[in-house]
Structure formats: C-alpha cells, structure tokens
Symmetry: C2
Subunit: 141 residues, 2 copies
DNA sequence: GTATCTGCAAAACATTTGCAATTCT
DNA sequence: AGAATTGCAAATGTTTTGCAGATAC
C-alpha cells in the first residue's frame, strides 16, 4: 500500500499521520503477519533509531480505539494486531507459531444470543497445525 | 456437583485429588462464573488459610493440560477458566464485566480452513452489552 | 521412605504511567 | 508560542520459577 493511501486512512479516522504512525500502520497493512507490539518494535527500530516501545504501544492503542486495527488475543500473554478489519477468523499454528487468516461464511454463524443482548464485537480463534507443520508431525511420530 | 463426582472426574483424567485441587475444581464447576486465577484465590483463601496463589496457578495449568478446564482469553491481561468443556461460545459484557455462555449451533459454522490444516481447538468470543446493561445504557443516553 | 504437592519469595515479562524533551504548525 | 507527540525510566500487575517444607501412600 502506498504512503499516500496510508496517510489517507489515518486521516479518515481522525489520526494525525506522524512519521512513526505511518511506519507502524504501513508495517501492519503490508506485512499482514499479525505481529505483537514487540515484533513491530524490533522490526522498525533499526530503521527509526529513536523509536521507543512506548510509542508502539501508544500508537497501537490509538489505532485500536478508532478501529483501524484489531487486537487478536489467541494466546495468553501476547496480544497481536491486525490491520485487516474485514470479517475473518484467525488460526494459530502450534508448530511454527504463525497466525493464518481464514474466511468465515457470513451466513453460516448463528450465535443464539439471548434476547436483548447487544453484540459489539466477535472473534473466532482456532489453534492446531498448519499443513506444513502437520506433515512434519506425521514424519516424526 | 458432589464431592465424590469431583474426585471421580479428576481421577479419570489422571489427577491425584488433593484437597486444594478438589476445592478449585468444585468452585469452577459449581459457580460457572468463568473466574480468573486471582478470583479463585480470593474466593477460596478464606476457607483454606494456607492456600497460595502459586497452587491456584499450578492447579489450573494442570487441569488445562489434561482438558478438564479451558482457558478463556477474551480480554487482554486476564485469563479466565471454565470447567464446562461442552462446545459453547463466550460473551463478555462490557458493562458489568460478566461472561455469559451461549450455544453454537453445531452445523452452523464453516471455517473454510485451508487443505491440510489440523484443527485442535476453536473458540468464539463476543463482546457487547447484556440485556440488563443494554437497557441501562439507553436510559443514560 | 520416597515421590509428589504445596507455598513463599523472588524473578520474569508485557504493558502502563509520569514526566520531560521534542516536534509540528 | 502552544498543543500534540514522543521516549525514557520507573511502576504495575499477572504469571512463572526455584527451592524448602509439608503431605500422602
């Protein structure tokens, strides 16, 4: 995604596009690797020598508060971030640790939510083994 | 649930039914309130003066490792526990903070998982407002 | 009597906070 | 200059670890 488009998206959500914010959003939208705050920091810090982890945390919190990124809480003690706000599920491979997106057929879910409940947010999380790690497992067992 | 049945369940999963383990499992299965480790500790400590938080953590980890309890990671920085291992979703009310179970119609979900992926675990988490908190909101707005 | 379980204290780790320095307009 | 943003250092809160004492069979 181009620099201009990133700036546009941030401004559309009322966020001033500072250098750090642009870089962090660019990273999320281009890499699509569902990083933790720490992973973002480690990736960007070499290119932005003054970058601090606090800024990464501040920025992610800001992004999340205006719904330009979502939090993925698929494993305890690590929050991951995703700039793809379209409806999809997340699968974490217990082998390689990667997180994969998967489609959710929109009509296919019926929550059976009780009367009067107001739904705000929904997440579908799965764990298991991706096709690569799955075949590795077979060989060793 | 009776003390005998609790002991039976723990033994069926290869867990020695110590006094602390029985109390913790009893609490989870009878209260069904999806507590954090800290909530369990605070509830049980008065009745078990020597109980330590370490034991609560150890016990929950043991229970989870043999699938007698599941972890609920619906909000960052708090893991909750549920002794109900039947398939169901979890809804956290952003007003009162309570977690509600809801049914998942079993045929209603189609993950569209890629070829060769091995599914181990799946969770559906929702947030929003329960009927009580939802009507309170309307009044104040 | 030996293996297991428990619990204290300290450590580890991710995230937040207070505040001063920097940047932007 | 004035307001917002950044970043350092310290604090916070939860979970883990090391190890010694207690317990169970």
């Amino acid at each position: 995604m181009s620099n201009e488009k990133v700036i546009q998206i941030l401004q559309d959500h009322g966020i001033k596009p500072s250098y750090q914010r642009i870089k962090i959003y660019e990273y999320l939208i281009n890499e699509k690797n569902h990083p933790t705050a720490d992973m973002i920091y480690r990736e960007l810090a070499p290119g932005i020598p003054t970058l601090s982890k606090t800024t990464v945390y501040n920025t992610l919190k800001l992004f999340n508060s205006v719904d330009v990124v979502q939090k993925i809480m698929i494993e305890e003690n690590e929050v991951r971030f995703d700039a793809d706000m379209n409806k999809h599920g997340h699968f974490k491979c217990l082998g390689c640790g990667d997180i994969y997106d998967f489609p959710i057929k929109s009509t296919a879910i019926d929550y059976g939510m009780p009367e009067g409940f107001e739904l705000k947010d929904e997440h579908i999380y799965c764990t298991g083994y991706c096709s690569e790690c799955s075949s590795l497992q077979e060989k060793t067992s």
